[in-house]
């Protein structure tokens, strides 16, 4: 038993079984057996799966349809994303307030509107 995808514990046999069901691309194998769905997003298994497809289907590795690469680059917690989002929102708010102040000094009746 050879492990191909370390994140999801997927073996070579499982990948071959997916190919027998008609899968010809790395993305199809990912969808069927989850190889490449773990935290590393296929950095390890992408090449291995590609080699197995190439061997099983007797097709040069260069002819195998390339997989989609999806963000984020590495796992990110929600709170980190939220910290950045809040920074961005406060910066936007400050800029708006500044613009409103500027407008207010020109025309005292104008009121700064929120988006």
């Amino acid at each position: 038993m050879k492990i191909v995808c370390r994140c999801q514990d997927i073996t070579e046999e499982e990948v071959i079984a997916a190919i027998r069901q008609g899968a010809t691309t790395i993305d199809e194998i990912k969808r069927l057996v989850r190889a490449g769905m773990g935290p590393c997003q296929g950095r390890t298994c992408r090449r291995l799966v590609s080699q197995i497809i190439s061997r099983e289907l007797k097709k040069p590795a260069a002819d195998i349809y390339p997989p989609t690469f999806r963000p984020p680059n590495r796992p990110v917690p929600f709170k980190l994303i939220m910290a950045e989002y809040n920074d961005q929102l406060t910066a936007e708010k400050k800029a708006e307030e500044k613009a409103a102040k500027k407008a207010a000094t020109k025309k005292p009746a104008a009121k700064g509107g929120k988006k």
């Binding site: 008609g22 010809t24 989609t68 917690p77």
Partner: protein
């Protein structure tokens, strides 16, 4: 290569393969599915994977109840594991208007025989211990809803259809259609022209384009919906959680990752399926608002898919008036996977017998022809 078939289905998503299976099961021998890329490469393989019966219109609810009855035995029927899991659906009400609408929905759904009820905050907390119940007024709960793996269900149908003799031609793009003395000619980018007396349009987001090839207007517009998945963790909760007010749905996969997505009203029409930082920000804000204890959970991957919307957010199912023997199953407005088991069965009945065991005339595309009043399905994220 065989190019002449008794029925051709354009589209290898859940509707295409399930229709192929139903036709083959009904005794048809020569069936071919033509798919642009690979199975479930479009909306099906990018969806949230839930199935629910809680709808605001009666026709959708009836169709969904039928679909779930079918799904309950789909693994035995198709002989394939699909990660089918009846964990329920919890739909959150945040405002008094929503409470009023949900009370109406629940009364209608119960009349149709669905096991659904309104639960208070305490019970919602019991169903989902991580939920911030201060934000909700109440929720509706149906334990018979749940979720399933879209890839595995598509593969299950495809394998079963192949066993019954259907062919599936992948990486073949339909470029033109023609009809001459009751035979459809389906032209493809492979240079092969297929012939068939019976044609099905299950092309999802591209069904309008397919319709245009033969001068039939299929009013379906694709909108991008983004979605993400977190790292796998131990079981947090069982149901799919939906909030129309916050605009979010979240479920925990069998492998442990939490899949969540949201609707964005500013999304333009188009077939672009890239990812955006804006979604990552907004999704994190909405999710941590409803589930503040889970702010440490890590996001592993984000992607996007297309909702094939119709004006009333209900599918187009059945024949068309303009061209005979040209059947439609599209415009499921983000709910193709959950309705497919019933929709494909009815479509096959309609195509083979000319009548269905269950009325689908209200899903005919002619409801969009001319000026007509449209009753929109309200329960859409």
């Amino acid at each position: 290569m065989k190019t002449s078939f008794d029925a051709i289905i354009i589209g290898g998503g859940i509707l295409g393969v399930s229709t192929a299976y139903e036709l083959a099961k009904a005794g048809m021998k020569n069936i071919c599915v033509i798919e642009r890329r690979y199975l479930a490469s479009g909306s099906t393989g990018r969806c949230g994977g839930g199935f629910r019966q809680q709808w605001s219109t009666e026709s959708n609810t009836r169709l969904a109840i039928k679909a779930v009855k079918r799904l309950e035995h789909i693994e035995e029927e198709l002989g394939y594991k699909t990660e089918f899991f009846q964990g329920g659906y919890l739909i959150l009400a945040h405002s008094d208007e929503e409470v009023a609408q949900f009370e109406k929905n629940v009364a209608m759904q119960r009349k149709l025989g669905l096991d659904v009820r309104i639960v208070d905050r305490a019970e919602a907390k019991k169903i989902d211990p991580y939920l911030n119940v201060d934000l909700i007024k109440c929720a509706t709960w149906c334990p018979k809803d749940g979720h399933i793996s879209p890839f595995l269900l598509t593969q299950a149908y495809a394998n079963a259809a192949r066993r019954l003799g259907a062919e599936i031609h992948l990486w073949t793009n339909v470029t033109g259609l023609m009809k001459k003395s009751n035979v459809f000619f389906v032209m493809t980018d492979k240079g092969v022209t297929y012939e068939t007396p019976l044609l099905f349009n299950c092309a999802g987001s591209f069904s309008r384009t397919i319709g245009q090839m033969i001068n039939v207007d299929i009013p379906v517009d694709p909108y991008r919906h983004e979605i993400l998945v977190t790292e796998p963790v131990e079981r947090l909760w069982n149901p799919m959680i939906i909030s129309f007010g916050v605009g979010l749905y979240a479920r925990q996969e069998q492998s442990g990752g939490v899949v969540m997505g949201m609707g964005d009203p500013n999304e333009p029409v188009g077939t672009f399926v890239g990812s955006s930082m804006h979604f990552m920000f907004e999704m994190s804000r909405r999710f941590t608002m409803l589930f503040p204890k889970l702010e440490g959970l890590r996001i592993v991957r984000q992607w996007a898919g297309l909702y094939e919307m119709t004006a009333d957010a209900q599918p187009i199912l059945g024949p068309v008036d303009e061209v005979e023997n040209f059947y439609q199953a599209s415009g499921f407005s983000g709910h193709g996977l959950m309705l497919a088991p019933a929709a494909s069965e009815l479509l096959a009945e309609k195509a083979i017998k000319g009548k269905t065991s269950f009325p689908i005339d209200d899903l005919h595309v002619r409801r969009f022809r001319g000026k007509q009043e449209i009753h929109r399905e309200k329960s859409v994220v």
